[in-house]
């Protein structure tokens, strides 16, 4: 026997008041979208504040759970058995066969928890709990009742149909992607930025991404690596529109005209400016970076402030307070770590002065940027007009 349906529980959406239906609909849409990649036919339905997924054909249980685990907004997944309401005696029979079927080892404590969605059902919940508890105890003498901390919480929901479930698989939490606007992720080939994108997407934000490519200083493989990373993040965030910007001429121009120790910070400021322009064009309202305080010279408080000053958009830095290890842990969990550590140079690692400024003064940076006046606008325009877009 196989579970033929799933009860999808959500957490935060429940408190959304009048807009709640919008969030629910977004979640239903996400579930439908994700299940398209899974073999099998599924019906996703929204019924009195709950979401049910029913399989209409054979399917692979693990594959479906894996798909659910990537959908933000899902707090928990309960695989369940759904039976027709054929009277109280039949219900008892179904519950017994459920326990028999799904618990090979019956040496556990349990509690029955009944909810009557259908208030017209002739027997009340308390009575059903008692009757079913007794029944299970008699049928399987190894079981014990524990009403405080049961090993197995046997849920019986009486609605138009009867739902029986007892397993709860945690989901990723968060909010359905697309319910909280769109932001532009500055994606490098490193460990941090994919994690940052994942974390913001978890809050229901749809993400686009931008990568700064500097051929021949950075290779085609480095670019492919970023495409691969965007694809990995898109497993959670939905499709990502990756903007690949050719940054070489801007970088070399800065290198020629500005003090080398300020190269990184000025380069970051131009990345922010270009990302902001691209964000505006694609309807994104904020930027996302993988910066964390103090990790490198360009991520000191002063450097972050100088970078921020280059854009008027809010800049989200979800890993700002994380240690490297904490970021690594998330990247391992979401499956981006192995790709992130492939050894290809990106322009943040290759154009680095020996002693970059760690406490840039915004005034000084702005003064250095004045050296760029002659050509920089033109170079930025060219970079934006030659952006390569890839759906990931």
């Amino acid at each position: 026997m196989q579970y033929q349906s799933f009860l999808i529980k959500y957490a935060e959406i429940g408190v959304k008041g009048k807009n709640r239906y919008l969030f629910e609909d977004a979640l239903v849409a996400q579930i439908r979208h994700s299940l398209k990649r899974v073999d099998g036919d599924f019906v996703v339905s929204k019924e009195s504040g709950r979401i049910y997924v029913t399989a209409e054909s054979d399917y692979d249980f693990d594959e479906v759970i894996e798909a659910f685990k990537c959908i933000f907004g899902i707090a928990a997944i309960c695989p369940m058995v759904q039976v027709e309401d054929n009277g109280y005696e039949d219900l008892k029979k179904q519950v017994l066969s459920y326990v028999d079927e799904f618990y090979e080892d019956k040496n556990f404590t349990f509690k029955v928890n009944t909810r009557r969605g259908n208030k017209k059902y002739p027997i009340n919940s308390e009575q059903i709990n008692r009757d079913l508890g007794e029944l299970v105890l008699h049928a399987f003498p190894e079981t014990k009742v524990d009403v405080h901390k049961p090993d197995v919480m046997l849920h019986v929901e009486v609605r138009n149909k009867i739902n029986i479930y007892s397993h709860t698989i945690p989901g990723p939490g968060g909010m359905p992607v697309g319910t909280n606007g769109k932001a532009m992720l500055l994606l490098s080939g490193g460990i941090d930025s994919p994690v940052a994108g994942y974390m913001i997407a978890k809050r229901g934000v749809k993400i686009d991404a931008v990568y700064f490519h500097a051929p021949p200083y950075t290779s085609e493989r480095a670019k492919q690596k970023v495409v691969d990373l965007a694809k990995l993040v898109s497993k959670y965030s939905g499709p990502i529109h990756l903007h690949i910007v050719n940054f070489t001429d801007i970088q070399l121009y800065i290198y020629d005209k500005c003090p080398h120790e300020e190269l990184t910070i000025i380069m970051r400021r131009y990345m922010m400016r270009i990302a902001e322009r691209l964000a505006g064009d694609s309807g994104a309202m904020a930027l996302i970076t993988g910066e964390s305080i103090g990790q490198v010279a360009s991520q000191t408080m002063q450097s972050l402030a100088a970078t921020d000053a280059a854009t008027t958009m809010p800049v989200f830095r979800p890993v700002i307070g994380f240690d490297k290890q904490e970021i690594v842990d998330v990247s391992e969990k979401i499956g981006t770590y192995e790709t992130s550590v492939l050894p290809f140079e990106d322009c943040c690692t290759i154009f680095v002065a020996k002693h970059p400024v760690t406490k840039p003064n915004l005034k000084m940076i702005e003064r250095s940027e004045e050296n760029l006046e002659e050509k920089i606008e033109e170079l930025v325009e060219t970079a934006i007009s030659t952006v390569e877009k890839v759906w990931c």
């Binding site: 051929p215 021949p216 200083y217 950075t218 070399l252 080398h260 290809f344 140079e345 290759i350 680095v352």
Partner: protein, 384 residues
């Protein structure tokens, strides 16, 4: 114009090689061990290939064992002779400039209790015979030295090496990694005192995933792969018939009019070296003429990182290899370049140009033009 100068990594297959591979895959696809005539047809291909290859080395066909390529040949030659001869001793001699498939096999043997002496090389990449002689001990069972170094093209004095070894102790086995040498040099294992010789097909315009190991019939060795007993039990598994036959055809072509072919390759190499000298700040690490392999030119470009230059050339359809793989995350500076004393500031600025039968002088001219154009641009930016 496209210029493929990465023939020491791999080569484009020759047309007749492609033809026979396709023919065997689609028509004569029998299993050489099968008893019916489709099987016999397949067996004939492997027999013919063995005869051709044995003919190029003037050895017996039964001394040729087909493998999946150079790495397998090196693994088998080292690990399986060491294991088979460990009662005679546990000492092995090799050099500091070997390929990873030799290195890592030796590292495995060290874990198994063998001890290995790695000989250093001089500025041209040659080992010193007196150091070899001094390294030989009573418990030495095996010496493994490459014929042609894959990074700079240095040619080791194989015959002289074998004389030194055999004079001290004729029962010490001499393995030669000839992966960059076969097809370029006339190799005579019997005369040169070579007991085992590794070769890979895709370096001589043959298919990938196939190679062979020459094993002198007196050598005590164990198989690396056990199974149905194919190839006289020395290497089980159904033979890669299309690959083997393709390798045979490639070997035959490479050794037909061999002298002329090599003369024109040496001419290409010398032309490349002379034209590189037109560019400022370029140091050639390979010797000219027949002092080193005819197909390899290693050169260092002061002030430019090899990876950057490689990608800049690639944008213009010129394909080369970086002399040493190095990146910010995984510094892996080449043992060979260090070994021959390339200056530290040039280690990460070295490219390898390697030629094949398809290359032309025009491609070299194109490459030099592009380098002349690129170097000043790329030198503008130097890592701090």
């Amino acid at each position: 114009m496209e210029a493929y100068f990465d023939n020491s990594a791999t080569t484009r297959v020759l047309e007749p090689v492609k033809d026979i591979v396709v023919k065997i895959m689609t028509e004569d696809y029998g299993n050489p061990s099968a008893k019916h005539k489709k099987g016999m047809a397949a067996e004939r291909y492997t027999k013919e290939a063995a005869e051709i290859i044995a003919g190029t080395l003037k050895v017996a066909p039964k001394e040729i064992v087909f493998t999946s390529g150079g790495s397998e040949s090196n693994n088998m030659a080292l690990i399986e002779t060491a294991m088979a001869n460990k009662r005679a001793g546990n000492h092995i001699i090799s050099t500091g400039i070997e390929h990873a498939s030799v290195y890592n096999s030796l590292a495995f043997l060290e874990e198994q209790g063998f001890s290995v002496t790695y000989l250093p090389v001089d500025a041209h990449g040659h080992i010193r015979l007196e150091e070899l002689e001094a390294a030989i001990r009573p418990e030495t069972i095996l010496v493994s030295i490459m014929y042609v170094n894959n990074e700079i093209g240095a040619v080791e004095p194989i015959e002289a090496i074998s004389k030194v070894i055999k004079k001290k102790n004729p029962s010490i086995l001499f393995h030669v990694d000839a992966i960059q040498a076969y097809g370029k040099f006339v190799i005579r294992p019997k005369r040169q005192g070579i007991d085992l010789l590794s070769v890979s097909a895709h370096k001589i315009h043959g298919p990938k995933g196939v190679g062979f190991l020459y094993i002198d019939q007196r050598v005590k060795i164990r198989p690396l792969i056990y199974g149905g007993g194919q190839q006289r039990g020395m290497r089980s598994g159904t033979e890669n018939v299309p690959g083997v036959a393709g390798m045979g055809v490639a070997a035959k072509i490479m050794y037909t009019d061999h002298g002329e072919k090599m003369q024109s390759m040496i001419a290409l190499k010398d032309y490349m070296i002379s034209r590189l000298s037109e560019i400022d700040g370029v140091t050639v690490n390979s010797l000219p003429g027949d002092f080193s392999a005819p197909q390899i030119v290693s050169a260092s470009f002061l002030g430019v990182r090899s990876e950057v230059l490689l990608h800049a050339l690639e944008e213009r359809d010129i394909y080369v290899s970086s002399g040493s793989a190095c990146s910010s995350n995984h510094p892996a500076v080449s043992g060979t370049l260090k070994g021959i004393g390339v200056k530290p500031e040039l280690l990460d600025s070295t490219l390898r140009f390697s030629f094949g039968v398809y290359n032309t002088k025009e491609e070299i001219d194109y490459c030099i033009d592009v380098l002349k154009e690129l170097m000043p641009v790329l030198r503008r930016y130097q890592r701090g």
